[in-house]
Symmetry: C2
Amino acid sequence: MQENSFYPPIRTLMGPGPTDVHPKVLQALAMPTIGHLDPQFVTLMDEIKGLLKYAFKTENELTLPISGPGSLGMEACFVNLVEEGDKVIVCQNGVFGTRMADIVRRLKAVPIIVEDPWGRAIDPNKLEAALKKNPDVKFVAMVHAETSTGALSDVKTLTEIAHKYDCLTIVDAVTSLGGSKLLVDEWKLDVVYSGTQKCLSAPPGLSPVTFNQRAVDLIKKRKNITSWFMDMNLVLGYWGEGAKRSYHHTAPVNSLYGLHESLVLLKNEGLENSWKRHERLNSILEKGLKAFGLEYLVPKNERILHMNVVSVPEGQDEAKIRSDLLNNFNLEIGGGLGPLAGKYWRIGLMGYSCRMQNINQVFGALGRFCLNGVNTNFRPEFYLPSQQI
Amino acid sequence: MQENSFYPPIRTLMGPGPTDVHPKVLQALAMPTIGHLDPQFVTLMDEIKGLLKYAFKTENELTLPISGPGSLGMEACFVNLVEEGDKVIVCQNGVFGTRMADIVRRLKAVPIIVEDPWGRAIDPNKLEAALKKNPDVKFVAMVHAETSTGALSDVKTLTEIAHKYDCLTIVDAVTSLGGSKLLVDEWKLDVVYSGTQKCLSAPPGLSPVTFNQRAVDLIKKRKNITSWFMDMNLVLGYWGEGAKRSYHHTAPVNSLYGLHESLVLLKNEGLENSWKRHERLNSILEKGLKAFGLEYLVPKNERILHMNVVSVPEGQDEAKIRSDLLNNFNLEIGGGLGPLAGKYWRIGLMGYSCRMQNINQVFGALGRFCLNGVNTNFRPEFYLPSQQI
């Protein structure tokens, strides 16, 4: 019996990620594989580092993609910096802060949790209070854009506070990179990690990271990094400067073709233009979702604009609706995690998914369920494509 | 200024990996991304698990691809099993045994090194002697096919010995899976990891692993696994049985499309047929390389047939030749690592690279350097394609 090839359905991806991948990026993935030490591949690596610096708005030398998904990137940042016994403040306002604390514990370091409600930004006053109370804290970890709740935190202010107490910051920018304003150098963020499958619109599987000089100095002094794979001292032998690269692991060549192409698209659009597109199109989506009677979990001024976390209409079976959207409209939106499960949807409009066609998909498909008796003031005119879109 | 897309040169990959990727696998990579919790993706995951069981010759339930390159798979096996203070015998006969010992040390466990010369198989007698001397050893780690030297070890016998002393074995099968005989269940190997970029001919970036019940029982009892990302107790929530999968990390969707297709190709060829093809075509390559006057590092009965580690002709600048092969013939072969650097080449004939056209490439290109004064008895007839090839 012959085994069959797999042919995926053609979905519209508007969950928390992955997002739709641009056809050029898909094409790039399929280019013939070359060796991970091929001089032309080394050129590609250098270009990727340069493009990531552009996307992160940083001049940090140590800026590169970790060869694994965003959560491996998260772990890599902690593993390289945090030692056994270190105290780490973890600002928790959703799933990813919780994961950070788990990683800190596994490193036998001590997480000090600063908690905010799911759906709210991190409160700088709470962080400052915790720092005052714990003068021996070394690191403050925080999520810029909490994918699980849709809350965007002011990591610039939080980092300023952390620095006042001589702490380094570790910042999760998985969902913000490329879609929300993120200025690594200007905001003086020390360590930042991200993912490829959100606003960069490359497939999942790589994790861009950037470390400033202060973080690099710390890493260079480390003697007991528990992971061989993630040890940046070793990774740098392969990704570092110069033409000579020593073998560490075999880089995921084709995935890096894809990341490169997605960064080329970002740079050619212009980072600020991409931020503006995310803002503009999401404001259209917002109007529609509100017209349907859906309510946002997060107050506007604390919101990730491109991650719309909205209430499920009362009395509706949210899982059934999501499954109907997927099966009948090939439209994926996300369900809620943890305490938000069953009550909220997460509708992402990110990266290549952030375009008018996708908004129309949501309005068309979701409208079937929401218009009925909930709100009939919905007028399609305002979302018709026009010059200002 | 517009950024440019990257277009790789079209190479023939005959180094230690990555190997040439089949056009169907490249095509699969470029299929539209779907969500990592999409029911159709869950079906794909189940198919991949089944196909990996076929490739590993195992019924182990815990058989899946780790979302990272082979060396992350290596680390994952140790991280899940080895605890602080555990004694681990590491059989070392090349680069990868050395790396295993490094990982064991980072876990604050105690590696006991059983050393064999680079280019030789692991000596079962030395292992047994070490086990006798160290009755409290818990694990024995070994490399089936040492890519750095070309040596193939008898992991069946080594595992029998380890089991006599109540140890579990951790086996590196990165270069053997799909190309050399490997019978995980029949040989009673406890934990095995591999890579995608060798005989499976998928791009690098994923690491198939398999754990038997005894290993799973150990992992389920672990309380202090240092890595969140690699903790198989968590990974299984996503990759485990049943339709319900809980989010752990975002799987590298498109890379998994590629792996699936490469496994479909392997199954449709037949695993045993693939082993035979590797043996048959490598015997042709061997005749030619010997006719050129190149000498094998590894004695035939200890050799990975598809990893030809051969001496650089005396007086030749090996790096210059490799770079000439790459620049003028688009042919990649590998240099030596560690003590073999400058003295040996590593010529892989694996996976989709293991075909007559590639042998011809080597003969044509390498012949330019080797024929001149070294050996002129080389006759092309014997390698012409014929029915027995």
